[in-house]
Symmetry: C2
Subunit: 339 residues, 2 copies
């Protein structure tokens, strides 16, 4: 490796620039194949004429319990969502691995397992395989959960960056940064307000309603680690299009904004765990918006911008002050273990 | 929970009695479904008339490099093997998650990724999805790798404990305990001999040759954590049959035996990472044995025992001294992070 330092830093796991560098310089060259190279939220595998979505995610969130959820709920919704972003909404199955620190309270394990169970029941998802490893005290932070998911993609559904066109509308399904702000506020025990709550939720039914209607949906992403700003940059880089967004249209809760101002963090890089960034044809934008708003998870949905060929590989934001600024790629520092 | 202490102990991850207790008292009641309840090496899912095997495993082995392999090779072969034990030998796909400690040398990550790549190429397996998380220094032991796998099961193949019959032959495909002995000897730097080497290997082709011939194979297991003794006990418990094995027939390398004698460990509980325990009809036992012996990984295969209805739920061993003893379930203490 030339362009990277010789040790792993926290930023390599931050979901931003250094994570992408690690993927591009180490993982992709080794595991080279056309499915992995798409770097979508889940892999799309063709088997026997049917398409299967397949994904894995490791959850190391700190703290493990937070307003709106816990590491168990997060692992299930995160996996369901990664599948759904590829259209994998039929018959999801999950496998779960647990790496537990010696001395972890079984009572807390039971709470986490209960959350997983409830989220599975709510979404008609089955956990069909599992593994548990215990490591010596100090060699994990309480518990890490890793979930893999498979599901089937309805026929004719083809979602991904390759489908994005010039002029596409960009819609977010709700306020951004709620999860990231909640984790930070809980971790450092800020007494800002009691209203911060993670948006952690399963998006399967919302995606289903988008796919059932003929809405010309091109690409879906859930802006987790790295937030909206990182997702938009990834897409601008891959498509060679530019992306223009309007700051005044981006839905952000007041408490999230306040926390960001105090900490000097840009809410564009804060993780969401129950939001969709939807790319659809410009013509269908109002239909998409109204379908999303019909779902309780989508009541704050907004059209925030558009894909353009005017500039390439860049995300530009019209700020509330009326000027334009570049939204750069998130470096990945400062916000470790947000999910 | 009534029958378990209120904190997680290392033994809960040892693959023995306490692991089973954790599964039966916490995971199974919560995630209740007929696929998970089978507790095979991988789940068997029916989709559209086709059967898919699906598995996940977390690898936390210490040390991460050892004679015969490393954590990367282990993660790939382990997943391929779990799929193969259910007959999942067609088109395996793997997803991989990495939990890396801050400060880990990128050079070592590259070595591990190279091993994964080589093992994938050798087996025509693709890694199609991944995730990387970095945790603060001290909150992981260098690197943990979690791999999930899916693959397709040939039509008419139905392997599992439910197929085991009275009188079935029990064949192991090679010497037992090589992996466990190698890990212990490397971890504690015993200078016993240089010949200890992990048996870590992919069993896909060996399983393929067993399934292609009409050999009346009923059940396959790879005796990883907990070793041969634990696998046999699990099967005796599930089938209500008894199992009788002959100590003099169990292939064990001299160096493994020597290490076990010094440490006071029973080789029956030492992990294998490239061995099959095969249950087939008694009539076909010699055919099975010769097919296994044709494969370089099976040259030391032995018929070690038989399934019996004479006693129930117990594993009995005729010892080399001519007496019989009960082989009990492994408790799971003393051998953490063997895989």
């Amino acid at each position: 490796m030339n362009n990277i330092e010789n040790i792993i830093r926290l930023a390599h796991g931050g979901g931003g620039k250094l994570t992408l560098q690690l993927i591009k310089e180490i993982f992709l060259p080794a595991f080279k194949n056309s499915i992995l190279e798409k770097l979508e939220d889940s892999a799309r595998i063709n088997f026997n004429g049917k398409n299967i979505a397949f994904t894995i995610d490791a959850y190391t969130v700190n703290p493990i319990f937070f307003p709106g959820g816990d590491i168990g709920k997060l692992a299930i919704t995160g996996t369901i969502n990664d599948l759904a972003m590829q259209g994998g909404i039929i018959d999801p199955f999950i496998s779960a691995a647990f790496i537990i620190e010696e001395g972890f309270e079984i009572e807390n394990l039971e709470k986490i397992v209960k959350s997983m169970k409830e989220e599975c029941l709510k979404n008609n998802v089955k956990i069909v395989a599992g593994d548990t490893k215990v490591v010596e005290k100090g060699l994990a932070d309480k518990i890490y959960i890793i979930t893999a998911g498979i599901s089937f993609i309805p026929e004719k559904v083809d979602l991904g960056v390759h489908r994005i066109k010039e002029g596409d509308a960009i819609i977010v399904s709700g306020t951004i940064g709620d999860h990231g702000a909640t984790i930070l506020s809980t971790r450092y025990d800020f007494k800002l307000s009691n209203s911060l709550i993670s948006d952690c939720a399963s998006l399967k039914d919302l995606v289903k309603s988008l796919l059932e209607n003929d809405l010309e949906i091109h690409c879906l992403r859930d802006p987790t680690r790295g937030g909206l700003g990182t997702i938009l940059n990834e897409i601008a880089l891959k498509t060679n299009f530019g992306i223009i967004i309007d700051e005044s249209k981006i839905p952000i809760k007041n408490d999230v904004r306040a926390l960001c101002e105090i900490l000097g963090i840009d809410p564009l890089y804060l993780a969401c765990e129950g939001r969709i960034v939807c790319f659809s044809s410009w013509e269908k934008r109002n239909d998409v918006l109204s379908i999303i708003k019909e779902n309780p998870l989508g009541e704050n949905a907004m059209l925030i911008g558009r894909v353009t060929s005017k500039f390439s590989n860049k995300v530009i934001m019209k700020t509330t002050l009326g000027v334009k600024r570049i939204v750069s790629m998130f470096l990945g520092e400062n916000l470790p273990r947000i999910c």
